[in-house]
């Protein structure tokens, strides 16, 4: 029904397509580089000029997930023939696997903290946004400004007070502490984004539900929530990406117990020389959850980020 929009000409379409593909390739190069490096041998990974075609090996992944010790030829002989494919890869490098590395548990920490803080942030954010959107809250505008103002400085600027606070409260190096911290940082963004989405939902729907015999909470749950799904999904992606990738606080506040993957991955370099394939393997695996999460919610995300722009 839009009369002002004309069908672009063929040449224009091709040009636009080429530009988009070109841009996509440029942005994909670092990603492909990381993925490829994960499957390279250590020599290939630092070869100059860089090798594009190489013989893939799982060595980086084996090194990522295992702890190994250097073995003398005598020790290797004593150990007998390798039992598994990863033992074989380790022995070909003159090492024996002594046990699993800590990457698995670091990764699990990231999952717990990332998704935990995102979930908490969505629950609190939706409730707060709904209240700000629907109820007569005293000093509403001032409160909203205050909430936004918590993001006007880089969060790391308050690292020292947070560090001391966490130490006194016993939250240092705990999952709960990191979940609370990331929730606190993300909450202002999610309240603001979600309030915008909830504002767009006409209040008449809830009024109809109230008349139809439902309580306000039931009306919220059955009517508002399904319609806010788009907003919640896109806000959740933003929150997850921040919590997932956060590095500075994770270095500062976690070590043995609740350390997430981002501070762990660089330590791989230190344990067995400059093992770039293992680092790349760690980064590749680390990318997967956010990618999967984003792909699952991508329809919502696309509608979410164009929300408001295309209305009416």
């Amino acid at each position: 029904m839009s009369f002002s929009v004309t069908e672009p000409r063929m040449g224009t379409k091709w040009l636009a397509g080429i530009l988009v593909v070109g841009y996509a390739i440029i942005t994909m190069v670092p990603l492909l580089w990381i993925i490829a490096t994960g499957f390279k041998s250590p020599n290939d990974s630092i070869a100059y000029p860089p090798v594009i075609l190489f013989e893939p090996t799982m060595e980086g992944y084996v090194n990522l997930f295992t702890d190994r010790t250097r073995a003398t030829p005598q020790m290797l002989k004593d150990a007998g023939p390798p039992e598994t494919w990863y033992d074989e890869i380790a022995q070909n490098r003159g090492t024996v696997i002594t046990g699993p590395s800590r990457y698995g548990e670091r990764f699990l920490n990231s999952v717990i903290i990332g998704f935990g803080s995102t979930a908490l942030c969505m629950i609190l954010g939706t409730a707060a946004a709904y209240a700000f959107s629907r109820f007569r809250v005293p000093l509403k505008d001032d409160l909203m400004f205050f909430i936004l103002s918590t993001r006007m400085m880089p969060p790391i600027a308050v690292a020292i007070p947070i560090f001391l606070m966490f130490r006194n409260l016993g939250l240092s190096d705990t999952h709960l502490g990191m979940i609370l911290l990331y929730t606190a940082v993300n909450l202002s963004l999610s309240v603001w984004l979600l309030k915008g989405f909830i504002d767009e939902i006409p209040v008449e729907y809830e009024e109809a539900a109230l008349i139809d015999g439902y309580t306000r909470f039931q009306a919220f749950y059955k009517i508002v929530l399904p319609q806010a799904a788009t907003g919640i999904a896109s806000t959740a992606i933003f929150c997850l990406i921040f919590a997932w990738n956060e590095y500075a606080f994770a270095v500062l506040l976690t070590s043995g117990n609740a350390q997430t993957a981002p501070p762990f991955i660089p330590t791989i370099i230190g344990t067995s020389g400059k093992d770039w394939p293992a680092v790349a393997a760690g980064a590749t695996i680390f990318l997967i959850p956010v990618m999967v999460f984003t792909i699952l919610l991508r329809k919502h995300l696309l509608r979410g980020i164009t929300f408001g722009a295309v209305r009416k």
């Binding site: 729907y205 009024e207 109809a208 109230l210 008349i211 139809d212 439902y214 009517i223």
Partner: protein, 331 residues
């Protein structure tokens, strides 16, 4: 079904007063239409009864039960909103089922299916039950929204201009349908409109609202034949009542400043001369636009009249209304 009473209801939004001392009794089983232009307080009155808004002052009872402090769900009212307010993420069937599935009613599924089928039949939306609520035309949405109220059996139905976005044929069909549903079920119905035909055809009682005040309450005939003011007289009747200075015909009581003449209060063929400005032929009715002593007035004449522009018609008043300077009826 129940009687609804409003006693001394005041409501203001900021500095503007929306309802100013509204008192009325909606008898059990009556069809009450609230008439008035935009901003008269019709919708606000509905929202007070529904419990979506609370009065600043005054009390409301439904079936003798005090409503102050009760939520809409506790009041057992059904409401049709002007903007449909269908739940967009649900299908038509789910929309119609929604009130029946509420924690208050918890209707058994077989009963739900029966009622939904019945109402869908009446409103001619049976073939749309599987559609998403957003995939309907405006008229269909409006019907679903009426249906969502009709599936229930509440103490009182509240309807806010439910027929406003329907085409003429459907509107007259549904007028009759609504009236017969109400008459058969004995439901109490409070209905907001600015369409006087809806008021005249469906109402057992009409409440005329003017800037938040209830200026007259009575049967449609009472309000038509015995209006209390110029304002109330202007709400009903097509063409509208003609308001002229009281002295144009003579014989006005001393306190009157205006005379009000409905078409049937103007006798043609006797009295003083007026000139035909325009003849408006509507088919079943022909309207005459006349100029009488430099005042314009509109009346109705024989549908097959031979009168034409420039002709002279003699007119005289018959049992006219007289109004004082403030608009109040004096005779």
């Amino acid at each position: 079904m129940a009687e609804v009473t409003l006693q001394g209801i005041f409501k203001s939004f900021g500095a503007t007063s929306a309802l100013d001392d509204v008192t009325m009794t909606i008898p059990d089983g009556s069809f009450v239409v609230l008439l008035g232009p935009t901003g008269a307080g019709k919708t606000t009155t509905l929202r007070m009864v529904s419990g979506l808004d609370r009065p600043d002052l005054g009390r409301i009872t439904i079936g003798g039960r005090e409503m102050t402090g009760l939520t809409p769900a506790q009041r057992d009212v059904a409401m049709v909103f002007q903007q449909y307010s269908l739940y967009p993420h649900l299908t038509v069937r789910q929309n119609l089922e929604f009130p029946l599935k509420s924690p208050i009613l918890r209707t058994p599924q077989a009963e739900i299916d029966r009622k939904v089928g019945e109402v869908a039949e009446i409103l001619q939306i049976s073939h749309k039950l599987g559609n998403k609520a957003t995939a309907l035309s405006g008229g269909e949405m409006q019907r679903v929204s009426i249906g969502r109220a009709l599936v229930r059996d509440p103490s009182v139905y509240l309807m806010d201009e439910p027929l406003s976005s329907l085409d003429a044929k459907l509107r007259s069909d549904l007028r009759i349908e609504l009236k017969s549903i109400q008459a058969n079920s004995g439901a109490t119905l409070l209905y907001v409109t600015h369409d006087q035909i809806e008021a005249m055809t469906m109402a057992t009682h009409v409440g005329v609202l003017d800037r938040g005040r209830l200026v007259q309450f009575g049967t449609p005939r009472e309000i038509y034949q015995n209006p209390v003011s110029i304002y109330a007289a202007s709400r009903l009747g097509q063409p509208r009542i003609n308001i002229l200075p009281a002295d144009v015909f003579g014989g006005a009581p001393p306190s009157a400043t205006h005379i009000g003449l409905r078409p049937e209060q103007i006798v043609q063929g006797q009295g003083e001369d007026s000139m035909v400005q325009r003849v408006e032929r509507l088919g079943d009715q022909t309207r005459l636009h006349l100029t009488f002593k430099s005042h314009d007035l509109i009346t109705v004449t024989d549908p097959h009249t031979n009168l034409k522009e420039g002709d002279i018609v003699r007119i005289s008043p018959r049992q006219p209304f007289y109004f004082a300077a403030d608009g109040a009826r004096v005779a």
